[in-house]
Subunit: 434 residues, 2 copies
């Protein structure tokens, strides 16, 4: 794999000092970044190096989508403006029952095409037919944390768990450099305590982390208090879930003592503002989490309830939503951008992503900053990235040292074919639906 030299670019490093370098260079060797700094001091490019002119561009770490259900691109716009349980019971579950591996494979590729175009280079997924998702990840070049879905209360709950264990083992044995397996126990209210303990035991033994939904709605909290005498986060702690690394989506309605619990246990929170707003779930106390030391990343949730996989949009929404209750100084731009990058990586329990610095994996997005909505520019890059930039400004994307998007063109994916296949799936699946 030839080296990549990006020259004359503005680098928003997202390192601990949040340095922004102007007229800088980034050098990639193999799958890692080896240099970020002044052009004058950059190592010379070898003859076969790929040289990218970064003039007018801003480089950011590839964005990290900490919570999605990728193949739900199939459900985009199929049912909006409904209460959560009506949506799930009447619109989603009846259709999901008929999903095939092929449906999930093509719908995943569609989601990957959308994410790469939006500068998202890593996603954390929980969905059915996880092997089909993995196939799409291997072929497309994107990076992923993958889990199937374990719903213990389902008639085939035990089988779902057995399959999940088998799949995690297989992924672990495969050791694909861009795939990290996880367990996906769906939520405290769909997986009984005994099965949660089994999941924790397996996760601990296999050395993988856990992806779950937690404290998404007020109704969930009330039901948990009624059933267990504990709110969902405290309950999950009680059953031992947090003895292994966990990424928990939503966490909208913590009890005050649960906030410090999440911090103490090192649980990564995947904040999903679009989904929480659209489903009327509420406003997660992100500022309180951050003050308490909880790591909060951003997630798009599935395209059925968002309806996109656009993480810059989530950063923008997170910054606005934190302010709506009356504090315009809450969650400033730099904080929101950290959630989309460095903190997202940390919410997935890794420190090799989310920062542009020598030694980290070469996941990079370059945004074209010459559009009118990004002027005037100088010195305003971080503000613009959160409050003004759009996913369509992403011009170039590199994942694991490989250029996947260049001049807004996907180099390795046949978008027209993917769109057509997903349209076919949608027609078959929804023609029978009410």
């Amino acid at each position: 794999m030839p080296d990549i030299h990006i020259h004359n670019v503005t680098v928003v490093t997202m390192d601990d000092e949040e340095r922004v370098l102007h007229g800088a260079a980034i050098v990639v060797a193999g799958e890692r970044i080896v240099y970020v700094g002044p052009i004058a001091e950059a190592p010379a490019a070898k003859d076969d190096a790929t040289v990218i002119d970064g003039a007018g561009m801003v480089a950011i770490p590839g964005l990290v989508n900490t919570h999605t259900h990728l193949a739900m691109t199939l459900f985009r716009g199929a049912a909006d403006d409904l209460p959560l349980m009506t949506w799930l019971r009447e619109k989603i579950w009846p259709v999901e029952a008929h999903l095939t591996e092929e449906d999930v494979y093509w719908a995943s590729l569609l989601g990957i095409a959308e994410m790469l175009r939006a500068g998202v280079t890593t996603f954390c997924d929980m969905y059915w037919h996880v092997e089909a998702v993995a196939r799409a990840v291997r072929e497309s070049g994107i990076r992923a944390h993958l889990s199937g879905v374990v719903i213990g209360v389902a008639p085939n709950g035990a089988e779902l768990l057995a399959r999940a264990i088998e799949r995690v083992r297989a992924f672990r044995d495969e050791g694909h450099p861009r795939i990290t397996p996880m367990f996906g126990p769906h939520a405290p209210y769909t997986v009984p305590a005994a099965m949660l303990c089994q999941v924790v035991e397996q996760a601990s033994e296999l050395g993988v982390s856990i992806h779950t939904h937690l404290s998404e709605t007020e109704a969930e909290v009330e039901e948990s208090l009624r059933q267990h005498g504990l709110a969902p986060i405290a309950y999950m702690d009680h059953v031992g879930l947090f003895t292994v690394p966990v990424t928990a989506a939503h966490c909208v309605h913590p009890q005050p003592e649960e906030i410090s619990l999440l911090a103490e246990r090192g649980v990564g929170v995947a904040h999903c503002p679009s989904s929480n707003m659209k489903l009327g779930s509420g406003i997660a106390p992100v500022s309180a989490y951050q003050e308490a030391g909880v790591i909060v990343g951003l997630g798009t949730d599935g395209a059925g309830s968002n309806n996109t996989l656009d993480l810059l949009r989530e950063a923008h929404l997170a910054a606005l939503l934190a302010k709506v209750s009356g504090d315009p100084t809450a969650l400033p731009a730099g904080r929101a951008l950290a959630m989309a990058t460095r903190d997202g990586a940390r919410a997935l329990h890794r420190d090799d992503l989310g920062v542009l610095a020598p030694g980290t994996l070469a996941d990079i997005a370059l945004l074209d900053f010459t559009a009118p909505h990004l002027a005037p520019t100088e010195g305003r890059e971080v503000s613009h990235l959160v409050y003004a930039a759009k996913s369509a400004d992403v011009d170039t994307v590199i994942v694991h040292g490989q250029v996947l998007l260049r001049g807004r063109h996907l180099l390795a994916l046949d978008e027209a074919r993917i769109r057509a296949r997903v349209q076919e799936s949608a027609q078959r699946l929804f023609s029978g639906a009410a």
Copy 2:
């Protein structure tokens, strides 16, 4: 001016039945739409007609931005995450004091470039150096409702009013087909009652409407109650403002009786969700307004507090923000899209815009619906327009029968030059600032 025939397009008419036509045609003659319907029944194209292939495209009425301060593109990203009064007193007003006509002209062109790219074809502006804004409107081809700023409590308040009257007369005499003059008394707390009465008298005499800010923050309501014994909307009614047509920005904190008052008086409300969220102003009760029969359009506010002029983003935010307090069925997609189009035009007191139908002015945006984030497509167009589409999907824009954007290229504006001039202004204006 040659006719324009758009063929084979999906038309989201936004007419009263909100019809969506597939594989349809739109025909434009002069500045008006003369046909919307099946291709088979469309009038034949003359030899010199401009024919646009609408395959893969969705046509919508040009979007209507009911509240902005256009030249504040200069302030985009210059000061974020601050309380409103700190922001105004320390960051905005000291710089605005040094604005020149040329600064405003170029910053207005930048905003127009941004809006046309985002499918916005009409905007309602209130800003200093209004003649410079008008010059940018005339040259660019966009449509505008223009007002200067009348701040009665300013040392030169009487002069500001005299100039405003003179300017409205001049615009009226000019009779430019794309410029509608308005009076812009800034807000109830910056214009004394006696001067508000003068403005109303002049507006009535000259047959123009009024653009103002109203009930933006809780502090404004409290102060109004203390000073006048009336909340701001009731106070404005009391001084007679609503005896002429009014477009009022924000209206975030109405008293219950003020909601019906706005409906009875036919006041158009410009809802600005980004600005209200970013400045922590609160959540306007849009659903309550609509139930009471108040006409609510959408506004971006200025780029200083948004930070874009992207009306599709406002439609998306309006739909999400209405749901956040717990009702996922509030403000469904069709309603949000109506606010960005038909209701926006009605909030400006006009019925010749905001709908794709024969007889209306030919302000049209075509969105390219072939990107991955808009798949699957069929039958999901309205949902996608609000929940998934981005301004960058806008491919073609027609205003007043003239094609201004084609294949995402602005045909009449030199963007590089505009950007460079605005950058120069920003450097001069902000170099002296703290």
